[in-house]
Symmetry: C3
Subunit: 302 residues, 3 copies
């Protein structure tokens, strides 16, 4: 039944059949993450990083109502050009995009779902969604966290942006039994920075150890994914105080302007980019490359 | 094993075997929704609306410890006469009612569970439960929402009563990946009124489009249901300001009287009925008919 | 696959194969619950209580990376001597302990998981985790509650300690469809005391009735466990006002000292023990024996 809706590219299909390592990549970064043609360039570079580290990339998206695991260069170009007009797709949105035969850029949750359908175990992205600041009042909690609780895909990321409430995010993941592994670190990284002030659950220092962890988890049918938190390389990280102040200033301005709900995150991200003068985008790109590399190494060890 | 506990009426069984459209209906409205004999009359009318629109009704309840999908007129009469003495049954209560061999009137969650067991995909009701106002403090969140996240049944309703916190309810559903579809509307209806001030996730304008959405969802094993929000017909809706004021007054009185927890909802509903002079019950009945009709049309397209 | 990781003791294996009653027991109480050698003594006594009531005990732990259902006396001695150096293991921790080939003492959640893998349906412990006081702000909610929502094991306990917020714990369990049964009581017991001020969902007065309830639940594939709340025997219960005051004093002191997050629970428990002069430990041991007995009787009726 799923075959009717899911198209795995020939290269990815072959790799999966032969038991070769495959790494899923998301497409929200292509259509919503940065302007064209920088987005296409970055997407192709991420795929190259995966290949250079011995795995096959499978960029995930929905095109014309078909779930895609593995995009051609033309398809990446297509999504990159369409940009913001492509719908952002999380769990609840998938049936809509399919039944309307339209395009969709998959979030962390959306990508995990399609990766699992295709049989891909490791996924590299920038950062995961989480519990938003002030979620005690708003209940604004990303669907990514429930996906991590339920879907068997390891998500290699640079932690989560500290526009989220990282402490509450860790509590939520603990309640739902999702492990948070630090790669060569005891501290949860906060996307732009290697520091956050919060601890991960487990520090593991090699891709092999992470693969052993994942194999044990899934062999025991302990459903769900894992957060593999991979700190941004030191040379690309932003200054902790600068980024913290930028986020605080952005939060204050959002409050002053009465910005609420769904508008908050895009506002904060734009504001931070403005405050940090584009440095944040550069860091963002580099941390994705770094995650693609680690994901490839983990996939090879699985 | 389930056969030992589940009794599907001959008519419903035949319809399911022949792939004919079936619509599940709940029984809390019979025993707890209004006085006898109006409740029995209404229940039979709802069934008639389903039939008039080309589907077979399957009213769901528990009688003498047996799960029932499809009630006879005698059984509806029996539940209607017993009224409030019938236990209201959600997920956690089902094993109790079975092991004690007693009767149960199923809530939205309870009805979804039995509908899924019987193989029924579409269910018409009045409104769903949700996140209660002040749930930030009380954690009072209806089990209906988890059922929507987990059980493969589409729930056609007129939204949710605004004695609930509709904004928090939408956030909760988003976190758990439950789609909220507006039938011919972009705005979430609020039971007695067509307006709420909140948007649905997707507007779909025909039963066929809704059926296509559901088919895609379940074909992909994207577990869980969907909220099909169907606004009350204009001629029966209550005045937005009147109902809003009635709810606010009722909330204030509840606070003044120190009414808390489980007592709050029945108190508010009784108070609103009192304030609106019975007009609310009339609206309630009409919106259920309206939902039964849409549910039949969706079931026919599935 | 699971066989590679799970070792069921010969006695437990034989009992399961022959359909004889088995009761799971947790190991956190051994390594983290009290000092050596009292912990070993207690663990062996609990096993004896299970046997004396006609069932086979299966103490659950992880030793050297192997999941164990049924420990030898030597293994209990080993865990008891190692004490606090044994890692406390909940759902998210299991793959870590396995892949590192280390030891783990299982919490309620961890024990439920391994019991279910082994095919054991009833588990006796002291108290379950829950929603922590002030979780509205901290989101500190024990993973035990999600395990109860998802894993098919009945947990016989003396309720939950009132250092938790028992009202919020009941709301959370209700949302996730977990039944809370009171054994011969309508009131939820609060570990050290038979009273809490909160009601259970259902009162059942015999092990047979509880077994009938569980059989109905699982026959219908209503996934998840149940809380079987068994009040501490009257002769061992602590004075309600004394324990309430001790908890309030401990909470105040924690706040004054700025103790937060993970440090709170151990601090509170140590403080309460200090305030109550060791009487609380004695009560703790007696209520575990009492739960082991009821669990054996339920297992015999299943
Ligand atoms: Mn959100
Ligand atoms: Mn409630
Ligand atoms: Mn906690």
């Amino acid at each position: 039944m799923i075959e009717k809706y899911l198209e795995i590219s020939p290269e990815v299909k072959k790799a999966l059949e032969e038991g070769k390592p495959v790494v899923a990549l998301e497409s929200t970064i292509i259509s919503h993450g940065m302007p064209y043609p920088q987005n296409v360039e970055t997407a192709l570079n991420v795929e190259k990083v995966v290949r250079d580290n011995g795995a096959i990339p499978a960029t995930i998206a929905i095109i014309n109502g078909k779930l895609k695991a593995g995009l051609s260069e033309e398809e990446i170009e297509y999504l990159g050009k369409k940009g913001y007009s492509v719908m952002k797709v999380s769990r609840r949105d998938i049936p809509y995009v399919i039944s309307k035969k339209i395009d969709g850029a998959t979030t962390v949750a959306g990508t995990m779902i399609i990766a699992e359908m295709a049989g891909i175990k490791v996924f590299a992205t920038g950062g995961i969604g989480g519990v938003h600041r002030n979620a005690q009042e708003t209940f604004d909690i990303s669907a990514d966290l429930q996906e991590l609780a339920n879907t068997n895909v390891a998500v290699v990321c640079a932690g989560a942006k500290s526009i989220l409430d990282l402490g509450l995010t860790l509590e939520y993941l603990e309640t739902f039994g999702v492990p948070v592994i630090g790669y060569q670190t005891e501290e949860l990284p906060a996307f732009y920075t290697r520091k956050s002030g919060f601890n991960v659950n487990f520090r593991l220092d090699t891709p092999e150890e992470i693969a052993e962890f994942l194999k044990a988890k899934w062999a025991l049918n302990l459903k769900g994914g894992a957060v593999i938190a991979n700190p941004i390389p030191e040379e690309y990280q932003m200054d902790y105080d600068t980024i913290t102040k930028a986020i605080e200033d952005a939060l204050k301005e959002a409050e002053k302007l009465g910005i609420k709900g769904k508008e908050t995150t895009p506002f904060l991200l734009a504001k931070i980019k403005e405050i940090t003068g584009g440095e944040s985008l550069k860091s963002n790109i580099q941390l994705v490359y770094n995650n693609a590399k680690l994901a490839a190494l983990i996939a090879k060890s699985l």
